[in-house]
């Protein structure tokens, strides 16, 4: 059996237009609290994989550990809680991409260390191999070090558990290839890429079961002092991306194809 801790933050909905602004607390997003949020896409994959694993290995349990503003997490749980069974553990703090991964890992470590009944020898720490906010791909490894875990895998798309509790992991490496490794068992840290499982359909019964623990978890959430003081941002800008698009329509296919071929060959 495994004790699976999934670390997942909240990020702005990918369809939102983002604009950086500098406030008294440092860099953030314009109207950040008004932006609709989603669970980080990679962390979502990690959660689905964790739930699937917990279902197939008897006695396993999933905790979703999230650092973010309590109010936004409460909104988010209305949808996320319907996807998979888990127990929510919250650190009430910023979800900004401009925070330091080291500080975020420290905050997550403090929360995980406080989970009652968590068995470190059965621990699998799941999360996204990157995030859609800071995108550092470093938080999980720092957290793993703080938890004393020496077996890490990043860019994971598949985990197979052997009858003896050993792990076989497929990680993405360069050139569209996979590295296949085996690990003798938990504890381990796995940063998930896309995984293999699609987004599960909403299940209201799962949602109701989860929500019984979500509200107490939000009420018990302790403030997490996550700062970005260690980073001196010289500038934050939007990259210029507007292009003058030439629209070619009402044009014979032969002409279009020839133009594409000429472009490819030049």
């Amino acid at each position: 059996m495994f004790h699976i801790v999934v670390c997942g933050g909240i990020v702005p909905d990918p369809l939102q237009t983002l604009e950086p602004v500098k406030g008294p607390a440092g860099w953030g997003l314009k109207n950040e609290l008004m932006l609709p949020s989603v669970l980080d896409p990679w962390a979502s994959h990690a959660l689905y994989e964790a739930a699937h694993l917990a279902k197939t290995v008897a006695g396993s349990k999933v905790w979703l550990v999230s650092l973010g503003p309590k109010a936004k997490l409460q909104q988010l749980m209305m949808t996320v809680a319907q996807k998979a069974p888990f127990e929510l553990v919250v650190a009430d703090g910023p979800a900004s991409g401009f925070t330091d991964s080291f500080e975020v890992a420290e905050a997550l470590h403090a929360v995980i260390a406080g989970i009652a009944g968590l068995d470190a020898s059965k621990l699998l720490v799941f999360g996204g191999w990157q995030s859609a906010s800071r995108g550092s791909g470093s938080t999980l490894q720092i957290l793993g070090e703080k938890l004393g875990i020496a077996d890490h895998f990043q860019g994971v798309d598949k985990l197979t558990v052997g009858a003896d509790g050993s792990l076989e992991i497929m990680e993405r490496v360069e050139g569209g290839a996979y590295q296949i490794s085996t690990c003798s068992g938990a504890p381990a840290v796995l940063g998930w890429a896309t995984g293999e499982l699609p987004e599960p359909p909403n299940n209201p019964q799962v949602g109701m079961a989860n929500m019984r623990l979500v509200m107490p978890a939000l009420q018990k959430a302790k403030p997490a002092a996550v700062k970005a003081d260690a980073i001196d941002y010289q500038s934050v800008t939007l990259p210029a991306q507007k292009r003058e698009t030439r629209v070619v329509k009402d044009t014979p296919v032969d002409v279009i194809a020839q133009e594409i071929v000429d472009w490819l060959k030049n």
Binding site: Q154, A177, A193, I231, P239, V247, V248
Partner: protein, 339 residues
């Protein structure tokens, strides 16, 4: 005074991978800008070829042994930690490849330092090291610096020219790392690589071809033509030697039991949770949507699209040319012309 350490694993033949040579250029540029010494840290089974290649850059430190040949977190982290300590590094620069990205953040934690990954530029400004990197899936970019040391930086591929200095005779300082059983709980069994004919996202290709979900939708006759779509796409890839990317929706359809292009996997996915490739040219077909796709195209220099929607939110303002046409017909003709 900073001490810059370039750090890298070596390939199976002992040489430096291309991404590492690019990171070496970045490290050298930074060291020269700061007037700081540059050291080279290498680890692997046999680092002699890599040490010779980087001999002109500075003092070479090396952790060697069969235990350090596989890309495994525990041994990689131990090697890099020891190299950083041996060199007295204050700034550590490495390639943003899968092996280093897996382990270097843990090394930063062990050393009490900080890390910034996926850096696209490093420079010396006003006597300080400044790094540039993207945030929110490259939707904004920031220049930043830190006072915490050691400061680890991983440099994304394609941002610097590969170092091609003359090889020399390196005086290698051996750094010992004891391998304990706890470091070998993980065993690397195999690398599963696509065959030479199989198309995927290859950084060395000039063109990225992106297939969108429209390829599997019902066409003008009211029926999907998935098999024909697959033939057209593979035919184009075979003739053009382009990389293949896809939208997430198209990849996900397989898991949802819909008709799919069987050669597409999550490895092909570009966009919000996919890769952000850096090809010179990109040709998108049957794609739709806005930001999630734009994210995947951030570093594609020349972009063209073929789809039936003249008001396509992906193309307007983001592609250089939008061909409003049936991609099936266009790609069939393109394949004929490419022979």
């Amino acid at each position: 005074m900073e001490t810059i350490l370039f750090i890298s694993p070596v390939a199976a033949d002992g040489s430096l991978p291309k991404a590492s040579l690019e990171a070496l250029t970045a490290a050298k540029t930074l060291a020269e800008g700061l007037g700081a010494p540059l050291a080279v840290g290498l680890f692997g089974a046999d680092v002699a070829p890599a040490a010779a290649a980087a001999a002109a850059c500075g003092q070479v430190y090396a952790v060697t042994g069969e235990a350090f040949a596989p890309a495994r977190y525990a041994t990689d982290a131990a090697a890099m930690e020891a190299l950083a300590k041996a060199a007295g590094a204050t700034i550590i620069v490495a390639a943003d490849d899968s092996r280093v990205s897996r382990a270097l953040p843990g090394v930063a934690a062990r050393l009490g330092g900080r890390i910034d990954a996926h850096v696209t530029a490093v420079a010396a400004k006003d006597g300080k090291a400044v790094a540039t990197r993207g945030f929110y899936r490259q939707r904004m970019t920031a220049e930043l610096t830190r006072t915490a040391r050691p400061w680890c930086l991983t440099v994304s591929a394609g941002c610097y020219a590969a170092y091609d200095g003359a090889p020399g005779q390196a005086a290698v300082t051996a750094v010992d790392v004891a391998v304990i059983p706890a470091m070998t709980r993980t065993t690397v069994k195999a690398i599963v690589a696509p065959s030479a004919d199989e198309q995927t996202i290859r950084p060395d290709a000039t063109t990225l071809f992106v297939a969108g979900a429209g390829w599997t939708k019902k066409q003008a006759d009211g029926a999907p033509h998935t098999a024909e779509a697959g033939q057209l796409i593979l035919g184009f890839l075979g003739a053009s030697k382009a990389s293949l990317g896809s939208s997430k929706s198209l990849v996900d359809m397989g898991g949802e039991g819909e008709a799919v292009l069987p050669f597409l996997t999550h490895l092909h996915q570009v966009g919000q949770t996919g890769s952000t490739p850096r090809h010179q040219k990109g040709l998108a077909t049957c794609c739709h949507g806005e930001e999630p796709h734009v994210v995947g195209w951030r570093f594609i220099t020349e972009r063209r699209a073929v789809n039936l929607d003249a008001a396509c939110g992906w193309a307007q303002g983001k592609a250089d040319v939008l061909y409003v046409a049936d991609a099936f017909a266009v790609m069939k003709k393109v394949n004929e012309l490419l022979g």
